[in-house]
Symmetry: C2
Subunit: 219 residues, 2 copies
DNA sequence: TAAAAAATTTAGACGAGTCTAAAAAATTAT
DNA sequence: ATAATTTTTTAGACTCGTCTAAATTTTTTA
């Protein structure tokens, strides 16, 4: 049984390690969790004692098999709740994150099973991120950043990255980008990496390089 | 902003004081919260500093106006979540309490408003307990314990009391008692206070005095 | 109404999670 | 390859909520 804090650290480490692909440094965790490195050192010792990560002094942490499983359970809950908030309670996609951060810690496997059923076993959350199934399995097709697409091509929006702030999502809604939107790349500016796109064949807009890296589309 | 623990103490004090009608002793709180009296003393000092209760050494605590308001918000959330679990997720009425104990602490007024709407502004939870409205107002008709009803009369089940254990609820389901059931009092035994009832004109059963005090019916 | 019993509070300690400041190790730059 | 810098850990302290044991107050009983 993990404490709320342990769950949050584990989730952060999972994300920072790209799902367990790489190891993570103390300072990265401290940044992500908005705490001090000293606090991270304390906590990674605890998670390491519980065999959810392996920790080597001065060299950072790696998530274990069990750690991955536990992290995926939390992520599954988070994304199911986000889906519920949007689909059943009519939240906007920029309003769900904070609430889901709380709801993801509710302990009740039955609740999650029933919620999954109510939502008809969704495979992606409102931001297009895949929802791990009951066994922690993720099925995603390939997703590439909009910025990597060559000019003249047309693609479909599959997902968008959400950091802490919801303002990026509000911006996307405002310019007309949503999951499933068709984007045509009209032009790419060399000097600042910004690109001009046509949304659903109707609306021309410029998006910054930064933004284009956080809109994930079909290859 | 109250901590999870403070919320739980406040709720317990609200219930023990019958909604703020009477004052509550340290030991009663300790029993209800399964903690030691010394811990209660510490906590009531904190709640008193926050003006949610008034505390007089050795004489117990009384809930304040603000304390009542805060407690009712928590109770409202608890009962809305229980209603959600039964109506939308098909939980049984004996499965909802523990999960609602967790869900009641989620902080998001918007969430509760939207949940209320999804459920169509219910006025009672699955056990028949009234759900305080947005302003903390409770509207209940009169409810009396089944044990207080005279023989030969017929009444409707309005609510049932739930203690910690869900076994009473399972028992009620088993014998066929539910919110809205019509009960006819056939006979009352003098020696042990048990009563014989007919449920929905179909099924005769004996219920103990203890049970009959926890089934609330129309007067 | 004084002694015994019960209830309550105080004092001091502990674990969880956090912090600051100082020490230690690793990295980088000269 | 040694010095300077950066990263990380250790040490010690603080808050929250809890506990035990001892002291105090209230209540009961004789």
């Amino acid at each position: 049984m993990l404490s709320l804090t342990e769950e949050n650290y584990l989730k952060a480490i999972y994300h920072l390690s790209d799902g367990g692909t790489k190891s993570v440094l103390t300072n990265e965790v401290a940044d992500a969790m908005s705490t001090k490195p000293a606090s991270v050192t304390d906590m990674v010792k605890k998670l390491s004692a519980k065999k959810l990560i392996t920790y080597e002094k001065y060299y950072g942490v790696t998530i274990t098999k069990q750690g991955k499983t536990d992290a995926l359970t939390i992520i599954r809950k988070h994304r199911l709740w986000e889906t519920f908030l949007v689909q059943k309670l009519n939240f906007h996609w920029d309003q769900v994150h904070e609430v889901a951060e709380q709801l993801e810690h509710i302990q009740s496997p039955l609740l999650i099973e029933k919620l999954d059923e109510l939502l008809n076993f969704p495979i992606a959350d409102p931001h297009g991120h895949p929802i791990p199934d009951k066994n922690g399995k993720i099925h995603t097709g390939q997703q590439v950043p909009l910025g990597d697409i060559a000019a003249k091509k047309t693609v479909t929006v599959l997902a968008v990255n959400v950091k802490e702030s919801s303002s990026f999502l509000q911006y996307l809604s405002k310019i007309g980008v949503y999951i499933g939107a068709k984007l045509s790349i009209l032009d790419k500016a060399e000097f600042d990496g910004s690109i001009e796109i046509m949304i659903d064949g109707k609306k021309k807009v410029f998006v910054s390089k930064e933004a284009s890296q956080n809109i994930l589309v079909t290859p």
